[in-house]
């Protein structure tokens, strides 16, 4: 686009490939956990179905929609920075941030209710349940917890990117960091797209 990029060590394509390679490691990382889930579900099918009934489908569905909207807003922010609309970009990123925070708040209450009912790994009440249910809740807390950790990392990344857009470090000719953050955020969304049916819907 502009010649002043030439001496600037700026490689849009290269940065993006790097981000995708990182995303692949994440996919395989979560993929491994999904395989663990698949094996245990195969071995303890009925217990998994019973345990899944404890989860609230509506909270899960609301959180799915929240993440989908936040994915759309961060995707739109990339279009808007290319259109040189800085203010709109910041508004869209802020919307994404707020949605991410709402997701975490929902998650907090959801976990809180489960823990109140004694359904957490290592609790005495859960020990009285079957082996399959112990495994289900172990996987539930580990996988949604790991996902929530990714949301928190995403919130930090989006905040940094928003400040960079504000300071014009990221602009229409140089926005790969925004694009890569977007890719990361969509990855978090995709993982949730699978967590939702596997833990909430299949009862």
């Amino acid at each position: 686009m502009k010649d002043n990029n030439i001496n600037n060590h700026y490689d849009h394509e290269g940065s993006k490939i790097g981000m995708w390679l990182f995303i692949f490691t994440e996919l395989l990382f979560f993929g491994g956990l999904f395989i663990v889930y698949a094996v245990y579900r195969y071995k303890h099918g009925t217990a998994f179905e019973l345990a899944a009934k404890e989860l609230d489908v509506s909270i899960g569905a609301i959180n799915t929609v929240i993440l989908l909207i936040s994915s759309a807003t961060i995707a739109m922010s990339i279009s808007s920075i290319q259109l040189k609309k800085r203010k709109l970009t910041i508004i869209l990123l802020a919307t994404t941030l707020i949605l991410a925070l709402i997701f975490l708040v929902n998650k907090y209450f959801e976990w809180g209710i489960k823990i109140e009912h004694g359904l957490y790994p290592g609790s005495g009440i859960l020990q009285q349940h079957g082996y399959g249910e112990i495994l289900f809740f172990g996987l539930y807390f580990f996988m949604t917890g790991l996902h929530a950790l990714h949301i928190i990392i995403g919130i930090i990344l989006i905040t940094i990117i928003m400040l960079k857009v504000k300071n014009e470090k990221i602009h229409a000719d140089r926005f790969v960091q925004l694009e890569n953050t977007g890719l990361y955020w969509h990855l978090v969304d995709i993982i949730w797209i699978f967590l939702f049916p596997l833990f909430y819907l299949i009862v």
């Binding site: 686009m1 490689d11 395989i35 759309a72 995707a75 739109m76 969304d189 049916p197 596997l198 299949i202």
Partner: protein, 93 residues
């Protein structure tokens, strides 16, 4: 170094349509699993999740507009994951 090429700007309308489709698919998967179909509901729920993932990959993650190389790499990773799953379940037959 080569000059960076033009990046396609995707319209807000496209994103809105895709978002709408994703939300509709989510509702469908919730409604379908409410009906007790036994093992079929697992297949339906996971197929819908698959379709949603493809939409996110193609539009939100720009695979439709990017170089083919990205799609090929992702296909490779997904094939690898499927193979691991299949080979693992051979042990449980």
């Amino acid at each position: 170094m080569e000059k960076s090429e033009e990046h396609k700007i995707i319209s807000f309308k496209t994103y809105t349509v895709i978002l709408f489709l994703l939300i509709v698919l989510t509702s469908v998967s919730v409604l379908v699993t409410k009906i007790d179909l036994g093992n079929i509901s697992i297949i339906v729920a996971l197929s819908i999740a698959g379709i949603k993932t493809i939409l996110v990959f193609l539009f939100f993650m720009h695979l439709l507009y990017d170089k083919k190389m990205y799609s090929i790499m992702i296909a490779g990773v997904l094939i690898l994951m499927t193979l691991v799953l299949i080979i693992l379940f051979l042990d449980y037959q």
